[in-house]
Subunit: 415 residues, 2 copies
């Protein structure tokens, strides 16, 4: 088995010097990484082909194979995303609220890197590069543990990144790739409080639950999206139709797509047939509560399990509700705290929905598909947090930092 | 055994309505609590006497008994601290950085309560009131699990708080007191992700380690303070002497006192005898490294274990170091990430120390005793975080909140 403890130890040790490197030096390292990826395009494609062949033999689904696949276009997108990170402001060293206290001491908070981030992820190999570049820019070391199904791609990308760092001020050991497929290694990493400051898991809901259960290291939960759109009695029907269609159909496999529609009973008879027709035209399978089936008997009855399910597919369940409050109650009971929306022209109900719904992102009259670091203006993201501590919603560079209090005195003592 | 699950469930349920209560209503509830404590002063003292008698029978140490003790003065201080919380600004509902994106959506972050806080603490009964008032002001429910040694005091204070809430807009169930002394209940609470959003343990290092090991709920680690003052070669000796004396002697039993002194070798021969004399005069026991003992053979030799130890007593260990870098290396190896200080008149070394030392609070030329919510201008605090995620250093009202993204659209969909 590879010596993963040594890799973690080196990542920790590298993190101390990495935290002091200037923005110019970090950007220079990111440029070298981009160049090295461009130069090694052929090699990356070869290694990715090995993953693809292995996956085909193993009988992986088409969707999964598509997530593993790299091609020239996708590699160019990876390079472009490195260039985007170079342009982002460096959060490290920022001083927040330096204030003079009555006794004359100056008390402020300085933004500093967290230390060592362990990113444990499934499938897409571009996460290897995104993770490494975001970590470097925010002054952190990163330990990358990707899926066994994308191992060849992840290892070649990791080596290209580490090679590029050799010519820079960034310690090569700031980026560590865990190569062994053994599951036990993940479990061991989750215990290493000495070397790992935070674990970010990305993958299925089951996988994330497993990480939370096992980890002694603080975890930032990134999550599933069992998301709802509530169509209020004062909704603009055209807008509701457009938004629901976009949020369900444009890319059904992502976590910010919607899985449920709630409709106020007053408008159910007029709106339900419309949205049914629109979604049907895109091949969406529609399930519904008994009230919805009274209006549209052709739809399948939704079970209790449906209300909890993130389909990630062209399936949606619809429920008729009596009031804004029962819509909110339903959402807070069944949702996964990701993205929720209301369509309404009523001012007070829009505000009530914003305040009462418990989720990382709450929308009025817009598609939930905007829950994304780029769309929110954070630049690249390392994941979308669906927990409440430290970071909530898309996590960019700032969310990869912590603060420390700094105090400038002139000999003050406490009375 | 008491039905603690029901108490947690009620706390969670109360948290939803509590998050919507106005600042005026919350302040009104805090005033009722202060009044009710004042009115029941006699009863509180009686119950506290029962704890004291039980403790004396049990043979608790004088220091521990002093932590349990309430008297009229201490209860008046508790009331005063409620009045301080009333005067603090309410963080809930604050909108951070509402920005217009290119497609016209407005994206901002709204500060919201976390939900349910479980505070698990040892000894001092005033924490019962501090915890409840800070939770109410920040819109959170709180589950209080104090030490069995202060049970009578904690229960009477809890009941007085809950009684006071009956006349207010705050649900009584927002404050829950766990009364059973069984240790297993703590372990059960730590698994209840469904009802508890964050656990804050306060107590000994061992106790906090136990909570981290067992908890499935996110924990905010509050911590021990194995704190250092580094006396640089360019230190002002008078200032160094004053600050060290204050940081060690003024209140040795608290977590922001210092436990270690590091001295640059160039000034060791002149400074060491001075600080030895000063600390000796206050009855401090002094231990030292071999280099220090060459200068002052009368001091006891410090063992490897000494460098790790938080004495919380009139004991200190002194080490002579070769350079700023070796001082920083020693600190980052042995410290508990709480409070660290440098005494120097050198500009560059002051900045280097601030940047490189890994701790919640890093000081130049001031006593570490200032690491405190009140001293830093946060008002009251619920604890001092020595971890890096979510909150670091003293945690006030803001640290008891999270954010959610709010998005105002006009029909925007993602292209």
């Amino acid at each position: 088995m590879e010596n993963y403890v040594e890799k973690l130890r080196r990542a920790k040790s590298a993190s101390y010097s990495l935290s002091l490197v200037s923005t110019i030096e970090k950007n220079n390292a990111l440029e070298r990484i981009a160049e090295n990826i461009e130069k090694n395009m052929e090699k990356i494609l070869e290694e990715n082909t090995r993953d693809m062949e292995k996956g085909q033999k193993k009988g992986l689904s088409k969707a999964l194979l598509d997530r593993i696949l790299l091609n020239e276009k996708r590699i160019k997108d990876i390079i472009k995303s490195i260039e985007d990170v170079i342009r982002l402001p460096d959060p490290v060293g920022e001083i927040i609220s330096l204030q003079k206290r009555p006794n004359g001491i100056l008390v402020g908070q300085m933004r500093v890197p967290i230390g060592v981030i362990a990113l444990i992820y499934e499938a897409r190999p571009n996460v290897t590069v995104d993770g490494a570049t975001l970590a470097i820019k925010s002054g952190n070391s990163i330990v990358l543990r990707g899926s066994a199904d994308a191992l060849f791609s992840n290892v070649i990308l990791g080596n290209i990144i580490r090679d590029a760092l050799k010519e820079t001020k960034i310690p090569v050991d700031a980026v560590q790739i865990i190569e062994s497929p053994e599951h036990e290694i993940v479990e061991e990493i989750l215990k290493m409080r000495e070397y790992v400051d935070v674990v970010i898991p990305r993958g299925s809901a089951n996988f994330i639950r497993y990480v939370i259960e096992k980890s002694k290291v603080p975890v930032i939960e990134t999550g599933a999206g069992n998301n709802h759109i509530y169509v209020d009695e004062d909704a603009d029907f055209d807008m509701a139709e457009e938004i629901i269609y976009n949020a369900k159909v444009q890319r059904p496999s992502v976590c910010n797509a919607i899985e449920k529609i709630l409709i106020h009973k007053k408008i159910a008879e007029s709106f339900l047939p419309r949205i049914y027709k629109k979604l049907k035209s895109a091949g969406v399978e529609i399930r519904g509560c008994p009230e919805a089936r009274k209006i549209l008997p052709e739809i399948i009855e939704a079970t209790e399990e449906d209300w909890y399910t993130e389909y990630l597919d062209l399936i949606i369940a619809i429920k008729i509700v009596d009031s804004l409050d029962s819509a909110i109650e339903h959402i807070n009971k069944y949702n996964t705290k990701h993205s929720e929306g209301i369509i309404t022209n009523n001012y007070q109900r829009a505000l009530t929905f914003l305040r009462k719904v418990d989720a990382a992102a709450v929308y009025v009259n817009a598609s939930t598909r905007f829950t994304d670091g780029g769309e929110f203006g954070l630049g690249a993201e390392i994941g979308i947090s669906t927990q409440k501590l430290h970071a909530r919603g898309p996590m960019g560079l700032k969310e990869l930092t912590t603060t420390k209090y700094i105090i400038f005195g002139e000999g003050q003592i406490r009375e």
